[in-house]
Amino acid sequence: MIRFLVLSLGLILATPVVAAVEIEEVETQGGLTAWLVEDHTLPFAVIDIRFRGGTSLDDPDARGAVHLMTGLLEEGAGDRDSQAFARELESLAASLSFDASDDAVSISARFLTENRDQVMALLRDVLHAPRYDQDALDRVRGQVLSSLRSDATDPDAIAGETLGAMIYGDHPYGSGGEGTIDSVSALTRDDMLAAHDAVFARDRLYVGAVGDITAEDLGVILDDLLGDLPDTGAPIPDPVDPVFQGGEIVVPFDTPQSVALFAQPGIDRDDPDFFAAYVMNHMLGGGGFESRLMDEVRKKRGLTYGIYSYLVPKDLASVYFGSVASANDRIAETVSVVRDEWAQAATDGFTEDEVAAAKTYLTGAYPLRFDGNARIASIMVGMQMDDLPIDYIATRNDQVNAVTVEDVNRVARELLDPEQLQFVVVGQPQGLGEASN
């Protein structure tokens, strides 16, 4: 866990607490790099390992393979079938979790110090001696298909799928990484082995460790665990330029509340204006109760339970998303209010006071994120994947504070684009655009 320093205790109400996470870069003998926060307060540690690529590495003819492969990682390894593997993990009171997203496959291991070697031996077999037994494959495939069937009648999932296909087209981002009923039904054991080889390689590997472990021990563990992986895996696809037509697309679906997603071009994480955009989004729709969208749509008009907007800079495209849901007879008003707010923010910008309040919140809330070993490990891996410097945590609030109202309003003018702002509405909305097929 980290320690914080209070740098200033002035009488100004909003003196920010500054996070001083002591991250150490560990170079292993075998040439791997990891970030470590060593803290022996509690007798356990968390190691987070991320492989860049994720479900976007799927062979187009085997969509869903990386996702299913990831789901099978806990279904046995080496000489243990899935039951034997689970029994061993339970008796060690450890957890291994595996996850696949558009951009990465993640492994998170949490273990008591006394059981560290045995847990690492298990994880080593997961990576180097996978089984992909046919009965496990069929069982987990059944779970994925069940979830895909549920998505087919879930308004949120329908909206996400429709919007993704519209803006990303044939790019992997344009379809769900879980695959389709047809593609998943056709996956074979060979597809699992191919996906394994596509994903796990040294040239795309990021590691964060937190807790009761020394740099020396971590180095030895990582060399043993990851040193023998191949140098490279499947090529990462090219970036995609998302296309936004603007307007509203309605997907008819018989349900009382319409679900709306909206999207327009976003901003890259390494863009010099990213922080200005981040502060701007906080005021527009990112700041929960305090955002303009929440104020106008929920507080003033009672049109929704919640409305949010998010900057989503992914590896291969950056999009600015939002989501809201209103009863079928009220969603048209919601869409119209969002469009008005979008246009007004672009034209008139934000006030000095709003920007000051947003910066106070964002800088004050930042240290609250580092609340636990697993959380810190995950943040550290994310920082590495975003190519941020190791001292980023100490300087991040300065970057937020450096944003001026002029920056925010210039970025609002340049970024916010009411013309391109595309809505997908799933439900039976009254008084909204034409239906798609």
Binding site: L9, Q83, E90, G142, F289, A325, P367
Partner: protein, 447 residues
């Protein structure tokens, strides 16, 4: 403000970041003169604090006909007071770099803020203010009522599983308010007004009906001083009485609920049984039930998963759930999602057969050892998250349990035997108190 800041600084500089070795070590309990219970959970690793006030009032304490009023009031608590504008509490928390929210359940309503530790006094000042001085206008009431109706749309009406669960609960409880949804029945929500909100507020919101739970970088002495300053002056409400709700009559007929909806893509079977809850000084049976739910449904080696997912392959998913933290009688729940090509009828029969064979065979002692080992380890992992410990105390203390009960629980779980678990299954998993639900696809799919 200045004094508490200085105290915080001194505490931070002097106290090494030592952490308690058990949950109980981290926790201090005391009571204010006006009857407000106070719990402090210490963790000095980061200068952050979570401040929560839990009221011993939830949806099961509502008057008949006003379902949803406990939750509606929770929303209205973010409107103004005599000295705070509407929304000012949240914006003040945000302006101090903090986050706030609230939640409502059957047995409690809780409000919380997470913020830098030196802002604790300000949080208490505002929370104490709205315990007494809530004000709201007619316009705000109408607008916020639309918000909770949209919340109901989102959580329940737009989701066949939400609607199905409401019907199952209503069938499980013949007389108790646990059968009424926390968010409320729509037709009653539509009639909720200022008068009903104020009545619930006046009846239940008082220091002697609340628990203050502060976790993070604070010392018990600091919390006590601040709590005396901010909550101390609020008089106790002498009309607060013990919570006595209508209880269940004997349940002697198994019930079936069939819910059809065109939006259902994945049918499944849900089964619940009326079950005893954890009671103060009497948690043995609940401990056995807690382990029963682990033995049957937690993790890949659980009995039902082995039999129904791995061996017979009739289920895509099977689970067992029991929490036990509840003021009145609760339920033990099972769910089975049939594998493709398996009917709900066959899945239900396989589930019943598996339960019967479990009671016949008994508990695998190695599995029980593994579960107990995991429970012991979870006590260590829990120390990494003091806000989680704070939640656990808040929930238990508003559900009829004491600090002693909470602290006895982990050890109690370690003493449960395989025989205790089978006996719990035999006595609780009986048809007479059960509800079996089928969530089915409507024959006519209109899309």
């Amino acid at each position: 403000m200045l004094i508490s800041r200085a105290a915080a600084l001194v505490a931070m500089l002097c106290a090494p970041p030592v952490l308690a070795q058990t949950m109980a070590d981290a926790v201090t309990e005391f009571e204010l003169d006006n009857g407000m219970q106070v719990i402090v959970v210490e963790d000095h690793r980061a200068p952050v604090v979570q401040h929560m006030v839990w009221y011993r009032a939830g949806s099961a304490d509502e008057p008949a006909g006003s379902s949803g009023i406990a939750h509606f009031l929770e929303h209205l608590m973010f409107k103004g007071t005599d000295t705070l504008e509407s929304g000012e509490l949240s914006s003040t928390v945000a302006a101090n770099g903090g986050r706030d929210n609230a939640f409502t359940s059957y047995d409690y309503t809780a409000y919380f803020q997470r913020v830098a530790a030196d802002r604790l006094g300000l949080m208490m000042q505002m929370e104490a203010d709205r315990m007494r001085n809530l004000r709201m206008t007619e316009d705000e009431i109408l607008s916020e009522r639309n918000v909770i109706l949209e919340e109901r749309n989102q959580r329940v009406d737009n989701n066949p599983r939400g609607l199905f669960n409401e019907q199952l609960n209503a069938a499980q409880y013949l007389n108790h308010r646990y059968g009424v949804p926390i968010i409320g029945w729509r037709h009653e929500m539509e009639t909720l007004d200022r008068e009903a909100a104020i009545e619930f507020y006046d009846r239940h919101y008082a220091p002697n009906n609340a628990v203050l739970v502060v976790s993070g970088d604070v010392t018990p002495d600091e919390v006590l001083a601040l709590a005396r300053e901010h909550y101390g002056p609020i008089p106790a409400n002498p009309d607060i009485t013990e919570r006595v709700r209508p209880q269940e009559p004997p349940q002697n007929a198994e019930r079936r609920v069939i819910y059809r909806d065109a939006r259902v893509a994945q049918p499944y079977v849900a089964r619940s049984y009326l079950a005893p809850e954890r009671n103060s000084g009497d948690q043995d049976k609940a401990a056995a039930l807690f382990l029963l739910s682990d033995v049957l449904g937690s993790g890949p080696t659980a009995y039902l998963k082995q039999v129904l997912e791995y061996d017979q392959k009739v289920a895509t998913y099977v689970g067992a759930f029991y929490s036990g933290v509840s003021l009145d009688q609760t339920s033990f729940d099972l769910v089975i999602v049939p594998a493709e090509g398996v009917s709900l009828e066959d899945a239900e029969a396989a589930l019943d057969a598996a339960i019967a064979s479990f009671i016949e065979t008994g508990v695998d002692p190695e599995q029980l050892d593994r579960i107990k080992m995991q429970l012991r380890a979870s006590q260590i992992y829990a120390l990494d998250n003091v806000d989680g410990i704070a939640n656990l105390y808040g929930r238990a203390l508003t559900s009829g349990l004491t600090v002693e009960d909470i602290e006895a629980w982990p050890e109690l779980l370690q003493t449960v035997t395989g025989e205790d678990i089978v006996e719990a299954a035999r006595s609780v998993l009986v048809p007479e108190t059960s509800v079996t639900g089928w969530l089915m696809q409507d024959k006519e799919v209109t899309q």
